[in-house]
């Protein structure tokens, strides 16, 4: 059983990725285990459509606790389990709401314990055309990256690739982050999911 954490800033599409990835893997009813900041577990079952409707949205901090999805798959004759954890988005600065602060602390706790860190960033917010290096990472993303690469298996998911303007080549993105395992995905269209799947399968 491996614990796989999806982490990133707010509104980069973590929850939608988890839902659509689970749907891509053929799960009809997604069973979420919500773990609140006191460690209590609550179960909720959604179809992918309903999950998209209730769990995602355009506002930041829609997810306010850890949401685990257990994915079972067969390897040879046996069965293996993968826990995909969706987390509260991180945002720099001190958030006024205590609930969100607690949720962010919980995310960091999960970050420390995760076996595989899937770090999600939003390409549409990174593109900075004025500079030589097109894509800049914010401090918090850089910190997560450093931490993840030092600590355990780390994977960079560059999300919202469908919003990328056509004149920016994908090769250029890959070049800039060479040496880091990286996948260009789109939570909405499902682009890049097969590659992520094969990587995660190998990891488990």
């Amino acid at each position: 059983m491996r614990n796989c954490l999806v982490i990133g800033k707010t509104n980069v599409g973590k929850t939608l990725f988890v839902i659509n990835f689970a749907a891509y893997l053929g799960i009809k009813k997604i069973r979420f285990t919500l773990v609140d900041s006191l460690g209590r577990q609550h179960f909720r079952e959604y179809t992918p459509e309903l999950a998209r409707k209730y769990l995602t949205g355009g506002k930041p901090h829609h997810t306010r606790c850890l949401q685990n999805v257990t994915i079972k798959f067969s390897v040879g004759k046996g069965q293996k389990k993968l826990i995909l954890t969706d987390s509260t988005g991180l945002k720099d600065g001190i958030h006024p709401k205590e609930e969100i602060r607690k949720a962010m602390a919980q995310t960091l706790g999960a970050l420390v314990e995760a076996d595989l860190i899937m770090h999600m960033v939003d390409i549409s917010q990174m593109a900075d055309l004025g500079q030589e290096n097109f894509f800049t990472l914010e401090l918090i993303d850089r910190q997560i990256m450093d931490f993840g690469r030092e600590r355990s298996s780390y994977l960079l998911l560059i999300n919202k690739i469908d919003l990328l303007q056509s004149h920016i080549s994908r090769e250029k993105i890959k070049q800039q982050f060479s040496g880091i395992p990286l996948f260009l995905v789109s939570s909405v269209t499902g682009e890049g999911f097969p590659e992520v799947k094969s990587y995660v399968w190998n990891f488990v």
């Binding site: 919500l34 460690g39 209590r40 600065g93 960091l108 420390v112 401090l139 918090i140 910190q143 931490f147």
Partner: protein, 343 residues
């Protein structure tokens, strides 16, 4: 969200072994620090843990180095160890910055006369490399020709490989390695050498191979196998001890056993250890150790007859305790042979 009303509430999840104290995040929960600060704290915490581990190992290293420094003479070995230590540390620091770090190849050749400390140094190096995390186990597997060479064709490779397997994670110490090249082309010793050379390349970083032997024989051995010398980056020569060094060794040995020599005994020993008077197969420190152990036994024999002994007497090795039986034995043997010849 109020979970308890809307959802079924279950028990808390099983406590996993937590690597980081949850209290670290309290500042974040209370709104005292930002997320980036919290992340920095985690990193610092990680670092402090690894620092603690490192401190333990540096303490170990210090202890082992102390043991090494206690050995008298062997300046060349001590500088080499310092070099290796610095190199390993720098490699570790380079690793931190994701710079290319080359695996350390530490295969060695030790040459030196009997009793110059080859085995002792190998044993200490094993522990030292273990503390430095160069090799995981640091044990010493001591082998000689008889352990490596087999009885029939193909047996040698098998036996050699077995010994190498035993030494993985530690040090394989081949004593009197030159004997593997003895016996010409048909000898199985050559097969053992070939197998070892292969293993050295295959398990480059997993074990340390040390070939040891007497200088003259080793020089011949290395000239016979031209590829061999270049495969050993470290070549250590153990010179013969000089008179003062041997005397120091003797005094240290006695001190460790809580004895001391009288002045006359020291003078006598000094005379015995004089370089020019040494015999061909003089065994340096081993000779001194045997002599010391023998004289301790002699002292016991001398004192046991007395009814009362003082503390001083129990500690003192007198001149008459030191008897050069070993030397006399050789001479006796010679005279015996002479006698035999006469017969």
């Amino acid at each position: 969200m109020d979970f308890s009303k809307r959802f079924k509430v279950s028990k808390a999840p099983e406590e996993r072994d937590k690597k980081v104290d949850k209290r670290m995040f309290h500042g974040l929960e209370r709104g005292e620090i930002t997320v980036t600060q919290a992340l920095r704290n985690i990193k610092d915490y990680d670092k402090s843990i690894s620092d603690i581990n490192q401190e333990n190992s540096t303490e170990n290293i210090a202890l082992i180095l102390q043991e090494l420094n206690q050995l008298i003479g062997l300046e060349r070995v001590k500088t080499l160890v310092k070099e290796a230590e610095a190199y390993i540390e720098i490699q570790r620091r380079r690793q931190f910055y994701n710079l290319i770090n080359e695996p350390l190849v530490l295969h060695m050749i030790f040459t030196g006369n009997p009793g110059t400390g080859k085995t002792t140094v190998a044993r200490i190096l094993g522990e030292l490399f273990k503390a430095m995390k160069v090799i995981p186990k640091g044990h010493l597997v001591e082998v000689e020709r008889a352990d490596l060479v087999g009885e029939y064709i193909g047996h040698t490779a098998q036996r050699t490989r077995e010994q190498i397997k035993k030494a993985i994670g530690g040090i394989l110490f081949v004593d009197e390695a030159y004997s593997l090249a003895r016996g010409g082309q048909k000898d199985f010793g050559k097969e053992a050498i070939d197998t070892m050379v292969k293993a050295m390349e295959d398990y480059k970083t997993e074990f340390v191979l040390i070939l040891a032997g007497y200088p003259r024989e080793m020089a011949h051995f290395l000239s016979v196998n031209p590829g061999l010398k270049s495969r050993f980056p470290i070549h250590l020569d153990f010179p013969d001890y000089c008179q003062e060094e041997l005397l120091e060794i003797a005094e240290l040995m006695l001190k460790n056993r809580q004895y001391r020599m009288s002045e006359e005994a020291t003078l006598l020993l000094k005379g015995v250890l004089y370089e020019k008077d040494r015999r061909k197969n003089f065994s340096n420190a081993r000779f001194v150790r045997n002599l010391i152990e023998q004289s301790i036994r002699r002292q016991a024999l001398r004192l046991v007859k007395k009814k009362e002994t003082t503390r001083e007497e129990l500690m003192l090795i007198a001149r008459e305790d030191i008897r050069l039986e070993e030397l006399e034995e050789v001479e006796e043997e010679l005279t015996f042979e002479k006698l035999f010849g006469d017969w």
